[in-house]
């Protein structure tokens, strides 16, 4: 059973997160290992396995990037654990400039932090829109490349958050 089937959802990129959460909670109750406390060892083990699969499925489908990656894997394009490097000079140059900007950012300069956060969000939103378009048009290779780029953006986001916490 794949993650979508587990939640009885159609396979696709669009997922209603509130609906997903409701389905998750319902399934969580029916599968909870405590309900099988009086059952056989086999039933108990099965409940634990199902719960772990359920959690995995929920966390994957809830996250837009993980969901995109999972959807591609269902289509036969595997991105997890890939060792392939990205060689898009223009994108990488922009990444370098981002890293330099973050390195030079003064953590006490709140307006500069805000400006960087807003710029980052804008670029991320543009890539996210590209990703949705590519996935819906079944342009899997384009989608895969966009996921790779979004991973760099997510990393930048984390570094920016770390700066904000200083």
């Amino acid at each position: 059973m794949n993650h979508y089937e587990l939640f009885d959802l159609p396979v696709g990129y669009a997922v209603d997160l509130a609906d997903l959460q409701q389905r998750y909670r319902k399934l969580q109750q029916t599968m909870h290992p405590d309900r099988f406390a009086a059952g056989s060892e086999r039933d108990k083990l099965r409940a634990v396995q199902l719960t772990s699969q359920l959690n995995d499925a929920y966390h994957t489908l809830r996250d837009p990037l993980a969901r995109a990656e999972y959807l591609l894997s269902l289509r036969g394009v595997e991105l997890r654990h890939e060792q392939q490097t990205l060689q898009d000079p223009e994108f990488l140059m922009a990444q370098m400039e981002w890293r330099e900007r973050l390195a030079e950012l003064d953590a006490s300069d709140l307006s500069a932090l805000d400006a960087a956060g807003a710029d980052l969000q804008r670029e991320q939103a543009a890539l996210q829109a590209e990703l949705e378009q590519a996935l819906n048009a079944s342009e899997d290779e384009v989608a895969a490349d966009t996921i790779r780029k979004l991973k760099f953006m997510r990393k930048l986001g984390r570094e920016l958050e770390a700066l904000e916490e200083l």
């Binding site: 654990h81 060792q83 490097t85 990205l86 060689q87 370098m96 760099f152």
Partner: protein, 127 residues
């Protein structure tokens, strides 16, 4: 996770950090990134008329292993011909730095950076 002494040495005293003049015609650039961890690496080679790599510089944003891998290759490629540099394999980098399996992609990044720089050389010399 513990870094090997060689990684720490390169990380604390990185060799050949920086950039060359962008407009220098003997300078070629390789840019690569690892989506798995978000690391970015820029490797520049200064190649003379005989096709020998005279100098190398790098700029890497990433973990200690990525920085050490790029620092190491700048040392290794200096004095090598283009063909010799093209033979460099990530396994040699990983072995020299004793990289654990989860950090192998850092050595792949460094190997691909050399390849990307040599591609840039071919492109510049094709015309």
């Amino acid at each position: 996770m513990a870094y090997s002494n060689k990684v720490i040495d390169h990380y604390e005293n990185p060799r050949n950090v920086g950039s060359f003049e962008k407009d220098d015609p003997s300078v070629v650039t390789g840019m690569v990134g690892a989506p798995a961890c978000g690391d970015v690496m820029k490797l520049q080679l200064k190649i003379n008329d005989q096709g020998i790599i005279e100098d190398a510089k790098f700029k890497t944003y990433g973990c200690g292993s990525a920085i050490a891998s790029s620092s190491l290759v700048t040392e290794w490629v200096k004095g090598k011909s283009i063909d010799e540099a093209a033979q460099l394999k990530n396994t040699q980098i990983a072995e020299e730095l004793a990289l654990p399996p989860v950090k192998i992609h850092c050595s792949i990044l460094a190997e691909d950076a050399i390849k990307a720089a040599l591609e840039d050389y071919k492109k510049k010399h094709a015309s």
